[in-house]
Symmetry: C2
Subunit: 398 residues, 2 copies
């Protein structure tokens, strides 16, 4: 009676959101303080005071709440183009920038503007599971290529082999959700060369869609290389959800590399898609906030302290884990082969985690550490008892 296609999809809902719901059930049963919920990448700091002050100041600005061109306010797009250009040297103008209602909106818009039915989009596993509908919505097909174990960096030769005559794009996401890996400039340059070779082989352009919502969330002096300076055919999709801690407000941008052939047609196509997919435009007041706070990073020091604390707890309890350089996720190896089974067992210890299988990378699990330091510290005995139980079971059934 309703859409058969959609009703069928309901069964395979988001594993992240499902674990988030599981966490809420546990909290209702055992109390908020007794559940260690690492399911959702929902930044726990509030937005910076300067952002809140600016919202208050902008609320009464004449015209800010009205329709503007579908692409966004011109002054905002000019400002973002200038700031991006200052960072990467790519000659963006306001006509390169589309303001979007968050990275999810940006990715859907870019995918619709690029894809015809049957086109393939390469993703590097582990990857954010929602990439799947963002691509299949428009008849595209996801082609996952596993990252290298341990570093979670792209497996460049494997990606080159995965490019076919149907490949329209590759999504890269660094700092990565869920692994926290920050891809080095060296590996991205090798990837650029590999894509060049593949394009010569197939005769088709492979667009690089760089999904960068964690670009400001990096540690230990690491710099995120500018993907747009490395890949000529790049479209940057970014969001302020994480850097300004306002994921509920839905604000971001898409930047089309002006070196793309017919970049103006691509931008026209993206504006058309933004309009007809029902976005119309990105929220007005937050467009201005975005331009004014491009380089802020709310809660960065707190995130680093939490990363270190949770990493220490895991290592002490005997988990295998790479210390990530970015984002706010740890991606340890699952102590039992089936990560979904492991996450079920973790729930019995009031730990809420998401299995690597949902990120196309089985055998691992994701912990979002954008939670209070108290939750992290209090979780230590639970991680220990969980590991002990697993070891005990292995001893009994070797």
């Amino acid at each position: 009676m309703f859409s058969e296609r959609i009703v069928k999809s309901l069964a395979g809902g988001s594993a992240i959101r499902a674990m988030f719901e599981q966490g809420n059930i546990l909290k209702a049963k055992y109390g908020e303080d007794n559940v260690y919920d690492f399911a959702l990448g929902n930044p726990d700091p509030e937005p910076p005071e300067t952002v809140i002050d600016d919202i208050r100041a902008l609320a009464g600005k004449p015209g800010i709440h009205k329709y503007m061109p579908n692409a966004g306010f011109e002054n905002v797009r000019s400002s973002i183009a200038e700031q991006l250009c200052a960072g990467s040297g790519v000659p963006y103008t306001k006509d390169s920038i589309l303001m979007v209602a968050g990275a999810a909106a940006g990715l859907c818009i870019v995918m619709e503007a690029l894809l015809d039915p049957g086109d393939e989009v390469i993703v590097i596993a582990p990857f954010f599971g929602e990439y799947r509908p963002y691509v299949t919505n428009f008849g595209g097909k996801i082609v996952p290529v596993p990252a290298l174990a341990g570093t979670f960096e792209p497996d460049v030769p494997a990606i080159e082999r995965a490019v076919t005559g149907k490949t329209k794009a590759i999504i890269i996401n660094s700092p990565n959700n869920p692994s926290g890996a920050v891809y080095s400039e060296e590996v991205l340059r090798r990837l650029a060369d590999a894509l060049d070779s593949a394009e010569k082989r197939t005769g088709n352009t492979v667009y690089v869609v760089s999904d960068e919502p964690y670009s400001k969330i990096v540690y230990d002096g690491v710099r995120v290389p500018c993907a747009d300076a490395i890949f000529k055919n790049s479209i940057i999709v970014n969001s302020f959800s994480k850097s300004l801690a306002l994921p509920g407000e839905r604000i971001g941008y898409a930047a089309v590399n002006p070196r793309i052939e017919n970049a103006d047609v691509l931008m026209d196509a993206m504006i058309y898609c933004a309009r007809t997919l029902g976005f119309v435009n990105a929220p007005g007041i937050f467009q201005e906030i975005a331009a004014r706070h491009m380089d802020d990073a709310a809660g960065l020091d707190a995130y680093r302290a939490r990363r270190d604390a949770l990493y220490g707890i895991l290592i002490d309890a005997g988990y295998e884990c790479t210390l990530p350089k970015g984002a706010f996720y740890l991606f340890p190896g699952s102590p039992v082969e089936d990560d979904v089974e492991f996450c079920k067992k973790a729930l019995e210890h009031n730990i809420v985690a998401v299995g690597g299988t949902s990120f196309g990378y089985p055998g691992y699990f994701r912990l979002a550490y954008c939670v209070s330091m108290k939750t992290i510290r209090d979780s230590a005995p639970a991680f220990r008892s969980l590991m002990e139980e697993i070891r005990e079971k292995k001893r009994k059934n070797p």
Copy 2:
């Protein structure tokens, strides 16, 4: 190289947006004050002071900018359900309400949740042209049924005849864009009976999607009948763009009638679509604004004065026009048969209007009178000289 489907669509872009661009070109040439731009339904008042005060007060509310459930904040959904229920008597609960990023988002989400490829959606012409992509995005087909000339009320017997085994939904939009018609309760009850008969004939449910962004913009003591009280299988889609004069902020809701069979499955489907279409959730701060300002109507008295002034100017100049009871549009008859040609001629007199053809109703043109009273008054000589030129031409070539 980009999506062929989308690049092909670019040629047939939005006529409203195209005329809006034409207006901007004329303004650059002749000065803002010398162009009478009635192209875009962009409310000219600012939001009510109480709304701006609430934005300022809410900006610092802990948690308001974070991710919330995809359907929206629970307190907001409860409040909207209660307020809707008080108006219509329909027993909505928070689980009936999905907060959406404006009516465009709401319509896309509802259409995806309802439609399988090949399904038909009846619309009553004249209709907002963007309904077309909102339906075709998901493989659906628009079936326009012309309204009755003069009143622009639905032609009920024609609608009943248009229902086939493939009909999944009908979109009604009252107060109507572009005609300003407010459908009477009597005609809606006849429509409900006709849909009942048609459903018995075909064996399928026809969902009534009531797109109500102008529900608060009504004049002369007219009341908009509650579509949800009349149609059991109704989904209300509403927006605060017009009533609170903040179209750039993208906030609205979709309300699923709890009397729909398996209403909970439909809501789950809509939440899934909201997530996977890239909306994720409606902007957080404006969700709270929506709940607090359900019944406000910014600028209503000013709109009525403008309607009366522009209507008077048109009648004096010899145009044929029905005085509309709602929305902020006039929809006069085109003095020449081809309304697109008429709008081109109007541009020569610095009048920017949109032809009825873009609304599936040739022979008319739309004037959005949400502009300053000065623009309306100053436009009088232009409307007169335009009519004189047309009459002169008809005299010469009868």
